[in-house]
């Protein structure tokens, strides 16, 4: 991999982290005095993906116009890495008329048809939809691919199985991504999953399965590249499980009392680790680190300002868009 790409991977991870950090801050800013989930400028559940940037960035680096993604309840990193407009996405999270969905969807239901991006709050249910996108791409004779993303907890849902089988039988250009962050809310992987690697399950569908063990963006990039190439060239679906890290709570407000691995979380953060590597190799300088952070900060700041300056929807607009 050339140094140029490395810098891009790093930059995109920082951009996403900056986004999640600021949303974290803004989300909590006005929930007090009694912490109220429905209060504030960003209401509702909030699932942030800090620590999981390598998955999104490593995969999306291979995507091009026309490629699609179905993401789960924890969608921001994939949305941003795939080119979803940060302003429109932020405005959606703030529930504004300029949002991707005019304030109807919110953080778990981001729809960006231009980028063939969507997400859903129901575990694993983006998998079948991605198969359908892939089916359409194939029928239209394009070499586009669909990426289906879910957590390791989701891999025990029936939709996972049906989708992998369907994609394999129909030889669809879809790549299934499992982000294994060790936890499904409070349930550790060992209590939910009868195998240490979901990649093992791929064999049951006769498709390639890979587990990327170390939350390293370059390892993800390699694995995803092979799978996406395969899909583009008509050879069918693949499964990639990425062992990643949930840096924060399941959702904001989660006290994580159940979490046995909390102590080592910070040291496992993939971004400082990647920065250190690039600094060490000389592919990144301290100046660039500052600059990249500042650029990200400015972009996120502008997006939040855009959201804050956008109108709140009129209550009666709730009645629109039931039918086309």
């Amino acid at each position: 991999m050339n140094p140029m790409n490395r810098l891009e991977l790093y930059t995109e991870m920082v951009r996403i982290r900056q986004y999640e950090s600021r949303i974290l801050q803004e989300y909590h800013a006005d929930k007090s005095p009694a912490w109220d989930i429905g209060a504030g400028l960003i209401p509702g559940e909030m699932h942030l993906a800090a620590g999981q940037e390598p998955a999104a960035v490593g995969v999306c680096a291979h995507l091009k116009k026309g490629d699609g993604i179905t993401a789960p309840h924890r969608p921001h990193h994939f949305a941003l890495a795939h080119g979803v407009d940060m302003n429109a996405m932020t405005a959606e999270i703030y529930g504004r008329t300029t949002g991707l969905c005019k304030g109807k969807g919110g953080h778990m239901h981001l729809f960006d048809p231009e980028n063939h991006f969507s997400c859903s709050g129901i575990i694993a249910q983006g998998y079948p939809v991605a198969c359908g996108q892939a089916l359409a791409m194939k029928r239209k004779g394009t070499d586009n691919v669909a990426i289906a993303v879910a957590g390791e907890g989701a891999a025990n849902q029936g939709a996972f199985h049906e989708s992998l089988n369907l994609a394999a039988v129909w030889n669809l250009p879809v790549v299934f991504i499992i982000e294994d962050n060790d936890w499904a809310i409070s349930v550790p992987r060992s209590d939910s999953t009868a195998t240490t690697s979901n990649a093992d399950r791929a064999a049951g569908y006769g498709i390639p399965g890979v587990r990327v063990e170390d939350n390293d963006v370059e390892a993800v990039f390699e694995a995803a590249g092979a799978a996406i190439d395969r899909a583009r060239s008509g050879e069918g679906p693949s499964l990639i499980e990425i062992h990643t890290l949930r840096l924060w709570g399941h959702f904001e407000g989660d006290a994580q009392a159940y979490r046995t691995d909390l102590e080592t979380v910070d040291e496992r953060d993939p971004i400082p680790r990647y920065a250190a590597m690039l600094l060490e190799s000389g592919e990144l300088t301290e100046d660039q680190v500052q600059e990249i952070a500042a650029t990200a900060d400015a972009e996120v700041d502008a997006a939040i300002q855009f959201a804050l300056n956008s109108p709140i929807p009129a209550p009666e607009d709730a009645l629109l868009h039931v039918f086309a």
Binding site: D112, Q125, P128, C131, G132, A136, K140
Partner: protein, 340 residues
Amino acid sequence: MTATETPTRRITTAKAMAEAIGLEMRANPDVFVMGEDVGAYGGIFGSTTDLFGEFGADRVIDTPISETGFIGAGIGAAVEGLRPVVELMFVDFYGVCMDQISNHMAKIHYESGGAVKVPMVLMSATGAGYSDAAQHSQCLWGTFAHLPGMKVVVPSNPYDAKGLMASAIRDDNPVVYLFHKGAQGLVWMEKNPRSIGHVPEEAFTVPIGEAAIAREGSDVTIVTLSLSVQHSLDVAEQLEGEGISVEIVDLRSLVPLDRQTVLDSVAKTGKLLVVDEDYKSFGLTGEIAAIVAETDPTMLKKPVKRLAVPDVPIPYARSLEYGILPTRERIAEAVKDLMA
């Protein structure tokens, strides 16, 4: 109308459905069919008869028994601009895939603030009467109609079956198309002659959201749908001899629901019987009665009558099954009660 067509060409409801799908497939390459046994078999209830022969396995696709998988795939394909017609073999199987149907197919357009369309038809077989028991005999249209974001249509005869299918496929919204096995005109099932009827050969539409007056009358209004329309027509003919004039409203669509046609008929007769083969409580019969009660209860000269499956699962033995279905006898009895 083409020159070859005889104006009295009579076909079954099943054939009418398949014909409509075939016409739309010819007209629009984005239309395709998916489901279990829709290919060489032609659909267990004939809804895709002969399509496989004409269009091949690429456009008439047999699926694994993975309803969540392939209905979800239909949604994904629709989101990308195709127009899938997806069959859920029996509506009773909704429970293995209802998340895709009600949380995705039905909600994506709304959730996206109108940015994404889901032009998909989900067709499924409903109904009892041939001892298929509790897991293969339900109607469940009330369940679908309760949940926002999907249109729900239920034809009662071959003409509407064809026209509603064309409308459903052309609609930019998800349309749930529920057909009664007993109204398909299948050779292997007892049938009412009304399941075979005149249907033009060319493409035509029946508008979604408009009820039909299946029969005009002045004494009693029966609001109903699907196979129960056929039964009600039989009863109305019989009661005519006894001097009772029955008006029959065939709802045809549950979502959108044509409230006005219901109200106009009840305003005329003052007596309302709702006949439904779905479960009684929290469903169609309640909704129709409520429409009158929330509009003007003084229209009613008698309390509303609701004839539906009395909140029991569908039993197997014929004696038990016909113990709970809205049969002609029960319809006639209810009309007579209203006249008493």
